[in-house]
Symmetry: C3
Subunit: 325 residues, 3 copies
C-alpha cells in the first residue's frame, strides 16, 4: 500500500492531487470520471510541453523502477520515455526470470528492495493479483503494467485518452470492438472504463470469442447500450471508434475455423470505405495482419498516434502519482 | 590501475579526498578506519540529501559503466540508483556472456574499451582476481562488485554502514554471524572489515560450515574476541547485530543433514523473543526462508533498510572516487 | 524518411546544418567531403568539451532509441555514452529477438512505434537493407548501426575521424588494410569513404580474402592509387595507417590453410619495428589475436583511442542530425 511518497520534504510550488498522489494504480475500477478528466487534461498539457521543448524537469529527483517479469518492449519503452521526458531516471529490470532477483526470491522481497532505491515501481508480472500483492507490501506507489489475465489499467487509460484526443471527447460516441473479445484483457479494461461515459458499445467477434457475459452485464448495469454481432458491416456505418484486437490462432481447436474467422475481421482499405469520414481506427499493437499496412496511410488510422498518446498519458500518471502536476 | 580520473580539468569548488579520488575499490583490506569514517559520514549526508530533494547534480558530467558478467539485479540496481541520484549517467551492460563483447574478447580489452566512454567501471565477474586484472589494465577507477570467490567490498561497506546507522556506532558491539560461514563471501569480508573496530564476533553455524580457520586467525590477530558455536541460543541474548546468511542445499552431500541443519537457524518471531530489545537483524538478501516473513514487521528487522543504506554507501563511494564529495 | 524532427518548435540559438538536420544516416555514400569536414570539426569540439566538463546539455530534451536486433555491446555503449554526454536520454532495446516486440511484429511497426516516443532511432539489424526500410517508413531520423552485409556508416566515420586526429589530416596518407578484406564490412565502408580524400590504399590479404573486385574498381574510378598484395612487409614501410581486421576461421574450408594464413598477419612488436615512427595502428575491435597485447603499450597503437574518437564522432552526428551543433 502506497501510504507515503519516497521524498517527503518537497520544495514549494508542488501541487498534489489527493486522488493520485502516492496512490497505487492497480485497476481501472479505482477511477471516477473526475479522476480521468484531471488525468487527460494533464496528459494533454504533457503533449504540448513535449512538442515545445522535448523534456522538462518536473520529475527531476525521482527514480522509477521498471520491473518486467515478462517482456513487453512497447509498454516498457513507453514508461521509460515518460519518466525521461519528465527529467526523472529509471532503473530498467527486464526479463527478471533470468536474473538473480528471481533465484527463489519472492515478488514481495524484490519490490521491497526496489522501493528502497526508487520512488515508484512499474510492475509487469504474469500472475493475476501480483500487482495488488506488491502494493500491499510496499509503501511506494505500484503501477500495474499488466498482471496476467488481470488488468492493464494504463492501457485502458491511454485508449480512452486517445479516443478523447482523436474525437474531441468521449460522450456520445459509438465504440466498436472487434476481434478476440473473450480473452483480450485490453478490451475488457476499456469497456469497464467506458462505463464512466455516455457511450454505445458494439462487440464484433466470432461466436467462440464473445465478450464474457459477466462483463456485458456489468457494463449494462451502468446503463450502457451494447450490441453483440458477428458481422462488422452491420455496425460499422454507425461507428466512431473501431477498436481492433488480435485473434490468436491458439484460441481455436479447429485450425480451419481460425483461418475462416481470421479473414472475416481483417481491416483493409475496402473496409474503411464503409466507415465514417470522421472516425478513429485503433489497435493496441502489435498487429499481425488484423489491419493491413495499406490502411496505415489513412488519416483515420490512429494506432501509431495511440502509442504517442500513451506516452503522454503515462507522463501525466507519473506526475500525478509522484505529486507534481 | 586508476592513476588519473577521466575528466581532468574540473571546475572549482571540488574537494578531492586523496584516500579515495581516482582509486580502484578492490578489497576491504585497502581501507583504514579513517577512510571508513569519511565514507560513512558522506553516506549519511547522502541519505539526508535524498530524503530532502531526491537527486542532486554532484556527479553531473560523469558516466558510469555497470559491467555485469553474471546477473545480480540487486547490486546492479543499487549502483544505477546511486549514480542517477547523483545526477550522473550509466551504461548498463548485463549478461555480458550473451553479448558480442564476450565473443572471444578478453576482459581487459572490454574494460579498456569502456573506459574510453565512461569515468568509472563497476565490475561483477565470476572469476576471482578479475577486478584486480581489470584495474591493472585501466586508468579509470574499477569498483569490484564481486569477483567470484574473491571479494565484494561494497557489500561489506554497506553492512558496516548499516550497523553504524542502526546502532549509532560500531565500537563496543557484539556481532553474531549465522548460517553458511564457510563459503559466504559476505561474512568473510564483513569480519575482516570489523577488525578496524572494537567489537566481539560470534560465529553460529553447523560444524561443516564453520568460518575458515585462516580468517579466524586473521581476526584474532587484530585482537578481536571471537566465539564459535553451533547454538544460536547461547549467544543471542548478548547479540547487538544478528547477521543471517543463507545455507545452500548444494553444500551438503547428505540431504537429510541439510534438512535438519537448515531449520535450526531459521529466524522466527519466537527467535526474536530471545533477542535484545535494541538490536539489528541483518541479511544480505535474497533470503529463501532463513528469516520468516512474519519477522518483517519487527522494528529490529533491518534487512530492507540495509538495501537503502547500501544505496547511500555506494553514492558516497562514487562521489569520493570521482572526486566530488 | 526523416523529413522533420520530433520537436519542431525549438528555442532560439540553435544552428541547423541542412546537410545533417533531420537526415537519416544510412550509408557512407550519402556524404560529400564538405559534410565530413563539418562532422569532424564538431567531433573535435566534442572531445574538448568532454575533457573539460564531462557532459553538457546540448541535447537535453532529446530521447534516443537504441534498437539492437543483434547484440553489439561496443556500438550500443558508444551511442549511449554519446547521447548521455550530450544531456539526452536513451531507451535501450537489446536482443529484440527475445522480446515481445519481435513476436511477429514487423520492423516497420516497431520503428513507427518507437518514433512516437523518441527523437531518433539507432538501428542494428541483421538484414541488409533494413535501415533503409525503416527510414522509408518513419519521419524521425534513422541511424544505421549495421545492417548485416550492408553498411555500418558510423564505423567508417569514426575510422576516418581517428585517422584525422591521429595523423593531423587524411590527405596525402597511405592507408594499408590487412586481414579479411572480402567479407569485412568495415574496410569496405572505409575504402569508399576514403575516396573523398587524396590517399593511397594498400590491401594485404590472403588470396581467398581479397578486396571485392567491384569495390576496387569503384575506388579506382575515384582516382585513388591501390596496391593489392599478400605480403604486409612489402607495403608496411610506406604505411601511415595500418588498419587490421580479423580473419575468421569460418571463412576457410581448409583449416590448415587458415592456421598458416592467420599467423602471417598477426601484428607483433617485431612487426612494428618495420613500421614508421609516426603512424597509427587501428582495429575496429574486438580482436582475437590479430594484434598481440604486447603491442598495446606502443604509442602508435591507436585502437583504444579509436573507441574514444568513436564516441566523439557519434556525439557530433547526433548533435547535427538533431539540429543542435
Amino acid at each position: 500500500m502506497a501510504t507515503r511518497a519516497a521524498t517527503e520534504h518537497l520544495p514549494f510550488g508542488e501541487k498534489r492531487d489527493p486522488r493520485f498522489f502516492g496512490k497505487d494504480i492497480l485497476s481501472v475500477s479505482q477511477f471516477e470520471r473526475g479522476d480521468l478528466e484531471i488525468l487527460f487534461e494533464v496528459a494533454h498539457e504533457m503533449a504540448e510541453m513535449v512538442h515545445r521543448i522535448g523534456t522538462f524537469d518536473l520529475l527531476k529527483g525521482k527514480v522509477l523502477t521498471n520491473l518486467f517479469y515478462e517482456p513487453s518492449t512497447r509498454t516498457s519503452s513507453s514508461f521509460v520515455a515518460a519518466i525521461e521526458r519528465l527529467g526523472g531516471s529509471v532503473i530498467q529490470i527486464n526479463n527478471v526470470t533470468f536474473s538473480s532477483v528471481s533465484k527463489g526470491e519472492s515478488l514481495v522481497d524484490t519490490v521491497r528492495t526496489m522501493e528502497q532505491y526508487t520512488d515508484a515501481i512499474v510492475l509487469r508480472h504474469p500472475e493475476q493479483g501480483s500487482a495488488a500483492e506488491a502494493a500491499a507490501a510496499t509503501e511506494k506507489p505500484i503501477i500495474n503494467a499488466g498482471d496476467g489475465a488481470g488488468e492493464h489499467p494504463t492501457q485502458a487509460l491511454l485508449d480512452a485518452h486517445t479516443i478523447r484526443e482523436e474525437m474531441g471527447g468521449i460522450d456520445g460516441l459509438t465504440i466498436t470492438m472487434v476481434g478476440d473479445l473473450k480473452y483480450g484483457r485490453t478490451v475488457h479494461s476499456l469497456a469497464k472504463l467506458l462505463t464512466l461515459y455516455d457511450v454505445r458499445i458494439n462487440y464484433v467477434s466470432p461466436e467462440i470469442l464473445r465478450m464474457p457475459e459477466l462483463l456485458v452485464k456489468e457494463v449494462d448495469a451502468a446503463g450502457i447500450d451494447q450490441i453483440e454481432t458477428a458481422e462488422l458491416g452491420s455496425v460499422l456505418p454507425e461507428t466512431d471508434v473501431l477498436y481492433v484486437t488480435r485473434i490468436q490462432k491458439e484460441r481455436f481447436s479447429d485450425t480451419s475455423e481460425y483461418e475462416q474467422v481470421k479473414d472475416s475481421y481483417v481491416i483493409t482499405p475496402e473496409t474503411m470505405l464503409g466507415a465514417r469520414q470522421r472516425m478513429a481506427l485503433m489497435h493496441p499493437l502489435p498487429r499481425v495482419g488484423e489491419i493491413t499496412t495499406a490502411v496505415d496511410a489513412d488519416p483515420r488510422a490512429a494506432y501509431f498516434r495511440q502509442m504517442e498518446y500513451g506516452m503522454y498519458t503515462r507522463m501525466a500518471l507519473l506526475a500525478l502519482v509522484l505529486g507534481k502536476a
